[in-house]
Symmetry: C2
Subunit: 485 residues, 2 copies
């Protein structure tokens, strides 16, 4: 599949504003925009960053062809000199980002764009679209995997995804979040990830009887033979017919390497226990019991708690649409404008809601780990020019409740910076790892969370603190802009 | 944007089943699959069909290139003769469908595929993906428009959509469902629909003050001058500065054709009433008040009921993701298999849940209207070879409660068939109307619903009946397959 030209995949107001800046070129200052989110999705304790590879593709491929220029001209609101500028448009700025698969927390810049305002504005919509979608699905998937307690989760949602890309890139994000495979063949091809699947009810129904359908399937795919047992009657017909076929395979000397059954309806706790007993008694203790049917993290968690014997899960609609929380609230806000001397002047967006007030300036994120456990202690948002030393004590305080303070002694903590350079002056300087590498990295990232932060319900929220310097700049700006209501 | 090759956008099991049928060619019978859904989304009284144009594009473009074959070969589960078959694959079947923009109800085939089983199986996943997504968003949008009572709704959701396609085709579906425009420029280009938008908070923040930002914008876009007034303080700064700019425009003799303000935060009922009063008193009674900020059909309905003065609405996240109901439950089920004499043998899928039992056979849908009002009386699912005559009395009965009967006298009703041929023997015989034409058709379709079916909460559910012949075939099949539990 060729890279699509998504240059026009932007809100019209980005282009009308661009023309506004173009016509007032003294307003095309270099600026800093931060993409960040305000609350963890699904009332989770964290989120997983995903989609950067597609952001890179998009930015590298940004260009206005004749088709785009002709279309914009036809709208009657853009002037020729601006359209000529667009014809030669190329992104010339710098982008820093948290790598894919990383754990992130609210109010941290996941992407920082430093560019002339016309360029920074154009790319807002697509960056948010891509990052919001994939981070949502990766986060959701990590929760489903957590609920499954080590069982494999397969992504089966393509038919219910919100369009082709939601299926394709949703599968990508689900792999990053922890799935062991997807049913989506195109995602398998594009991202080199394992594809999985067996047969549908229609396969069974197109044969005169269930046994024959199983038998023909087993003859074709003896090495990956998972039989769907609920077309007629799971325990009276499906499981006995599956056992008959497995028995015949064994008698014929066909090695039973990966085989078992799939349940797709009914009470999965009850049916799996009964089926497990039947399979065990027939001498097939290593037969896999897999299940699908409108599963999510809460249902899987409950089934596991009930002693359900399913060990392999196909999860569709709930994961590919993040059904109980189908949007990720990433926003893109102006943080600083460069003055004529090349200094960034911090900018802040007021709001009556304190949580919505932005963090000004050119920022970086430091992650602080407890040295002993390697678990995350807190994140510290600081200004780019601040220097920290692990050999010094570190004083943290909560920016919303600044009287809450924690002092970290040297030797008890380690810290590292989260964002990496992705584009520098228009040139891509970052090579995305493969999806399976990102998946592995994400597993390691999840290990840095305390169990209290991973749990599905009412998790502990990790502290995201501001450096003292950043905090004081913020307070000063608020004082300057504050109006009496 | 070129058509993408989505041939591999299918579940792996479609391909493993295809190879299964290929290796047992006596099993490549011609079959009928129905795509239908079981329950209206969002507890609505209806759904709107959308996505057919993309299904057609997909089917016409189905082909396995070398890249696809090489990838499939590498999976190690497909044999050379099957891969050779795929290399020459072309869809040879027939497809019938309810046209886009149509009202539809549960259990009605929205798409009927008649094809050799290998072909019918391959296209299942993509058809469902496309139709489920666009029908979901079109239905959601029609509800948002209904709540707005004639006010214009603009689609502003791209940045929160589930990936690029969800933004692009979601905008398409939103236009079909009733939006007057979208912020998504690419959707505007691809589907020739109106694009809308003005400026963001960052525009205001990049100027030394709000007035200057408004002034520069108004100078550039006097003909579509909607000013965002909530960056600093809506009533104390934003609205007064907007009035100052409008006054200057009037004094300068600039015609104020389409102008006004946008509210993007705060209490929209309160702020819009205050702003309306200020604009009216300043002599701008025709200034538009538009609003955005996490709106959905329930919130708009409530604001309208409160006498809110907003008359133009930008709706984002809730509409583009159908946030409270983010998936449409379309399924694709085997309905019949052709025997050696060319007759279709009806097939039925059992389920312990009566609602999940499928309707067998080669079916059509007749829509029955009350002659006097033109409103929908009921739908009748019948077999393809049944003939009905409007000049005869028509007896309807509920298939779930067959003792409930209605007799329609001749002259009191009209009827028409819903599905149209789209592909016949592999050849496309249908030309999709433009999106704006589909939108207009959809408005007419919505007019055939009683208000009781359109209302947002607890709507009247339209009857979907079975013909007597179809009902008896179904009962007979259930009797044949019924097992004692």
């Amino acid at each position: 599949m060729k890279t699509r030209n998504l240059t026009l995949m932007t809100d019209l107001y980005e282009l009308t504003m661009m023309q506004g800046y173009f016509k007032n070129m003294d307003r095309n200052e270099t600026v800093i925009f931060d993409a960040f989110y305000r609350n963890n999705p699904m009332e989770s304790g964290y989120a997983i960053c995903a989609g950067l590879a597609q952001v890179i593709e998009y930015v590298e491929n940004l260009h206005f062809d004749n088709d785009e220029i002709t279309y914009l001209k036809g709208l009657g609101i853009f002037e020729d000199d601006f359209l000529e500028y667009l014809q030669n448009f190329k992104f010339s700025g710098s982008i820093y980002a948290i790598p894919e698969g990383s754990i992130m927390f609210p109010r941290e810049p996941m992407i920082k764009v430093i560019a002339p305002i016309m360029e920074a504005q154009l790319i807002e919509t697509a960056i948010l679209n891509i990052i919001n979608h994939q981070s949502l699905i990766a986060t959701k998937t990590s929760r489903v995997c957590y609920a499954a307690r080590g069982d494999g989760i397969m992504e089966f949602g393509l038919r219910r995804a919100q369009g082709p890309d939601a299926g394709i890139y949703g599968a990508r994000a689900a792999m990053i979040g922890g799935c062991i495979g997807t049913s989506n063949v195109l995602a398998g091809q594009m991202f080199d990830v394992p594809v999985k699947g067996t047969h549908a009810h229609s396969w069974i129904m197109s044969f005169p009887d269930e046994y024959t359908a199983f038998k023909v399937y087993a003859d074709m795919y003896p090495g990956a033979c998972i039989l769907l047992v609920d077309t007629y009657d799971t325990l009276k017909s499906g499981v006995p017919n599956a056992i008959r076929v497995f028995t015949e395979m064994r008698e014929a000397g066909i090695p039973l390497t990966f085989y078992g059954i799939r349940l797709d309806s009914g009470d999965l706790a009850y049916l799996s226990k009964k089926a497990r007993k039947m399979l065990d008694e027939a001498g097939f203790p290593d037969a896999v019991i897999s299940a699908s049917n409108d599963l999510d993290e809460y249902l899987i968690d409950s089934l596991k708690a009930q002693g359900c014997k399913v060990t392999s899960w196909g999860v569709g609609t709930h994961m590919i649409t993040s059904k109980n929380w189908p949007s990720f609230g990433g926003v893109y806000k102006l943080a600083a404008i460069m003055d004529e001397n090349g200094n960034f002047i911090p900018k802040i967006k007021l709001s009556e809601n304190s949580e919505k007030i932005t963090n000004p300036g050119n920022k970086v994120i430091h992650r602080i780990y407890e040295k002993e456990s390697g678990k995350i202690k807190a994140d510290l948002i600081a200004l780019e020019d601040e220097v920290f030393d692990e050999n010094e004590p570190l004083l943290l305080f909560d920016p919303l409740e600044p009287w809450k303070k924690t002092l970290l002694e040297p030797g008890t903590y380690t810290m590292r910076e989260l964002m990496v350079p992705v584009f520098l002056d228009g040139k891509c300087v970052y090579t995305s790892p493969s999806v399976m590498e990102i998946r592995e990295y994400c597993q390691k990232e999840l290990d840095t969370l305390w169990d209290e932060t991973r749990r599905l319900v009412n998790p502990h929220q990790v502290y995201v603190d501001l450096s003292s310097k950043l905090y004081h700049i913020k307070i000063q700006l608020l004082d300057q802009m504050g109006q009496v209501h």
